[in-house]
């Protein structure tokens, strides 16, 4: 999972956080997803959310379940250059929204520990 994304900025509060993120077009995953047609794998974005949640909560977050995850827009690395990841959490539930410019690209509700 090296080199998939880069955090440009983070703003972490008690119950929520906002990250500005760049997906890196040079990531080797695009050699296989897909050859000649780079599309961000949804699973890699889920892992990116887990890593950002780990930063926000200051511990290694594990996903025990995904209640619902909706991929509304395909993401290509570099277009748009910057994505916004909004996280909010309560007890062991984490909500995540990935915005591409002002449009919701991914919505995710998961159980964590």
């Amino acid at each position: 999972m090296l080199d998939y994304s880069r955090i440009i900025s983070e703003n972490i509060n008690e119950k929520q956080a906002v990250f500005l993120i760049e997906l890196l077009p040079s990531c080797p995953v695009y050699e296989g997803h897909f050859p000649g047609n780079p599309i961000a794998p949804g699973a890699c974005t889920i892992e990116m959310v887990r890593q950002c949640a780990s930063i926000a909560l200051q511990r290694e977050v594990r996903i025990t379940g995904i209640r619902h995850c909706k991929f509304i827009q395909l993401l290509r690395p570099g277009t748009p250059k910057i994505l916004t990841l909004q996280l909010s959490w309560q007890d062991n539930i984490l909500n995540a929204v990935v915005l591409a410019e002002t449009e919701i690209a991914i919505q995710l509700k998961m159980d964590i520990r």
Binding site: G32, F34, N37, I39, G42, A43, C44, T64, I66, R67
Partner: protein, 138 residues
């Protein structure tokens, strides 16, 4: 009739390639379900510190669903994307060297959208399950 695909032949079914090819074998069972496998190797894209990450199970299930669709098409495999995931549960992360065996069943299919239900086991132990919608590009 059951059809079996080996590691090399998987590329006839799915468009994903290294480093994010997440199934090693696939067998169709009476056209209704597919059984796939994945050995957890340290070279896996989603491998981290002795384990396969949660997202690795998600991608493995999605590609198993893609393989199922691929078996029904004679053409070159189409690119597919996860549209929706529901009720994904992980009881534990697979460890290095463990063999994940997954069973994917089609619940509904409408044009380019396939809805599946999947269970991933290590031996007899259920480690993950999910419902997923995958989209195929035209």
């Amino acid at each position: 009739m059951n059809r079996q695909y080996t590691y090399e032949q998987i590329e006839q079914l799915i468009p994903q390639r290294a480093p994010i090819k997440m199934i090693d074998s696939a067998v169709s069972v009476e056209n209704l379900s597919v059984q796939t496998s994945l050995l957890v190797r340290d070279s896996n894209w989603f491998y981290s510190d002795g384990y396969l990450l949660e997202a690795g199970l998600v991608e493995h299930i999605a590609q198993s669903a893609a393989a199922m669709v691929g078996m029904k098409n004679e053409d070159a495999p189409k690119e597919g994307y996860i549209g929706d995931i529901k009720n994904f549960k992980v009881s534990r992360l697979p460890r290095l060297g463990e063999l994940i065996q997954s069973r994917v069943m089609v619940i509904a299919q409408l044009d380019s959208i396939t809805m599946v239900e999947a269970e991933s086991k290590i031996g007899n132990e259920l480690v993950a399950s999910a419902q997923m919608k995958v989209f195929l590009a035209e």
